[in-house]
Symmetry: C3
Subunit: 207 residues, 3 copies
Amino acid sequence: MTLISLLDYASVLVFAITGALVASRAQLDLVGFAFLACLTAVGGGTIRDQLLHRDPVFWIADPTYLAVASAAAVVVFLTAHRLESRMRALIWLDSFALAVAVAAGAGVAMARDQAPVIVILMGMITGCMGGLMRDVVVGQVPLVLKQGELYVSAAFTGAAGAALLEGHFESPTVPLLTCACLTWILRAGSLHFGWHLPVYKSTPPKS
Amino acid sequence: MTLISLLDYASVLVFAITGALVASRAQLDLVGFAFLACLTAVGGGTIRDQLLHRDPVFWIADPTYLAVASAAAVVVFLTAHRLESRMRALIWLDSFALAVAVAAGAGVAMARDQAPVIVILMGMITGCMGGLMRDVVVGQVPLVLKQGELYVSAAFTGAAGAALLEGHFESPTVPLLTCACLTWILRAGSLHFGWHLPVYKSTPPKS
Amino acid sequence: MTLISLLDYASVLVFAITGALVASRAQLDLVGFAFLACLTAVGGGTIRDQLLHRDPVFWIADPTYLAVASAAAVVVFLTAHRLESRMRALIWLDSFALAVAVAAGAGVAMARDQAPVIVILMGMITGCMGGLMRDVVVGQVPLVLKQGELYVSAAFTGAAGAALLEGHFESPTVPLLTCACLTWILRAGSLHFGWHLPVYKSTPPKS
């Protein structure tokens, strides 16, 4: 449980920063920063907990998560203007948040003895939904669906790694850390080296 | 239960195809196709199950639904370029998915002995919410709210038909098939013949 | 419980009118009006009930809420053209709906003996989420996130007032009425006098 809490905290913190950065691009006030930070930070985990009927939801059981997210929003409000490129910071922090959130989501499902396919899905949902809500709410095309980048694919691969390794280890530590690393490596490789899967082309060139 | 499962499978399959078609218009990769297909396919039913506190949610109880949706996404990824008009295919498939999903939603509520008004609403929610999420996530005006077309109205009429007939039949077969047919006929009539209800006009012409 | 029901009814009614006004701006038909009215009216309270695992959700327990929202939609459909400025009416009605919805949300959490931070959050969620969904669904920038206005901040202050006063009064009447008044005064002051918190400025002018 401790590892899952740690992953949850890390993903909440980093996703909160990305939410606050989006708020800074939308020029909101401090409460708007905190709102968007909290939505992004706990959005994915909330959907996971609702789907698994976990009662209470993790941030109602322990409101510290929201304190962490709000504190992150305050710090970003005061310091974001020092960043050279907020968009760049946003995208890279989002990649870290994705990686730990996928692991946290998969870990919760594993702790509840769900089938491998549900472990994979809870990883993907926890990782992707917070950022998706953040972007939809401010009216931007979600990072999740950005054409030609690995995002959902990275989450899927990481979560599938956790599900595959789950049967071979007593504790969830190795599967979950592998999951986070795998997710981040794929996402970072996509951002830095341009790794991608073939995208759909509607009209193949005719010779 | 068998009829409801069948309707659920049919709506999952056809909604998944519409989700994948939207993914093709957004030029996503294969995992993006599967993501949008699954979101569209199980979105409405998931909200229905959450509202009725059905535990577990239908696709957690039986992940085959997601396998069906993902398989549909793969097929669309490989074949969509052969379609003459993907928009046209999308709209017509969406009308079939709407019809069976409304019936599936109404059927679940009827099986849980909900009041007629809840039967109607669960039909409408199951039918409309998957497509609504699909369109909102990719930043398009939802088909559901397209001006001058019957969509929510078709879902409402079909679901109301099921609720009306429910008391007169022992099995849910006739009410649910009537519901699906009624919904589809209204939606199809709106698409093909331009049937519509009066829309709001803000400034009536002054003589 | 009676006060909370009253607040719930009031917020459902007024939010329904705002949803119908947005439907009129999108030129939907009557069923579209009712759909958007219901979504706006019960959206925030539904998320609150789901998060608190209240079973059944308030409008499933008592579908009268939806009848009220639908009736409001019909009235707006027939009369909205008489308004001189629908946008102005929308914004001011939304401020009333926000105020009562925040109080209703805080009241439900107080009645379930939640911690003060959860009382505050349920107030904010109930107040803000219905309008947020209304605006996101029709593809507009949410009022909630409008730059340079008190909205989430007003909800936060009102809900915090309720949480602070809760321990000092036997009945919830004084805390909840204070909450509604405080929220509305701040929101109205922001609309009429331009009250606002400092917004984030990315590039402070260099001398």
